[in-house]
Symmetry: C2
Subunit: 133 residues, 2 copies
């Protein structure tokens, strides 16, 4: 954990807490969710600091923000390329492993592609099974 920090960033308890939270909660939480949950154990934590930490981590390519939800940003560790599925019923966001061999066509058009986000929306497996009952 702290090893990641050796990448030029100061090690503060708040940053560590944010990273730990994202590591243990692979639920693509909002900044507010992170803030609310971390605030319990560290009441002096401020929302600004959460936003600052998320910004910094994002700028160093450690985490990424997800715009799958229309009203708020969600955050996620930047693991190997993966995509996301948003369940319109329960609101869960599920990781999707998927390779698209045609993406290079976009590059062939002359654009320099730096990020690829695949967002799927619908009803997740769990909700589908619940519905069948």
């Amino acid at each position: 954990m702290e090893i990641l920090k050796q990448n030029q960033l100061k090690i503060t308890p708040q940053r560590l807490a944010v990273m730990k939270y994202l590591d243990e909660n692979r639920t693509h939480p909002t900044a507010d969710r992170i803030y609310t949950d971390l605030k319990e154990k560290n009441p002096s934590l401020s929302k600004t600091t959460v936003y600052n930490s998320l910004d910094t981590l994002q700028n160093h390519n450690i985490i990424q923000s997800i715009t799958i939800s229309p009203s708020e940003l969600r955050y996620d560790f930047k693991k190997s390329m993966h995509h996301h599925f948003l369940c319109k019923r329960c609101g869960d966001i599920i990781d999707i492993e998927l390779e698209c061999p045609n993406i290079k066509k976009t590059i062939d058009q002359g654009h320099k592609v730096e990020e690829v986000h695949g967002y799927f929306k619908g009803i997740c497996k769990k909700c589908m099974e619940k519905q069948e009952k």
Copy 2:
């Protein structure tokens, strides 16, 4: 144009104006851009009405909202499946025609996929060429 309206919606000048605007401006505008531009010819137009119209059209699957920009929604006609490229330099959003044969794998996992959004970000062709000079 009005033909589209026969799909259960009342025909109002405001809705027609929003649709006409989206038809003639394939730039994936924000609600505010639509409002500002339409306001010129119809000063009594209200922003609420623009939002209402966009909502209604979206609910009837005539248009779609794009969450490629982190801070605001953008709107687009719901043509045949296509994706979007956001240039980080000039801010333009470009349509990308692209089929991903592997999407069905997501469906195979038991999720009911209703929407697929492919968002690419980077530097567009135009900006790349400008840079080379």
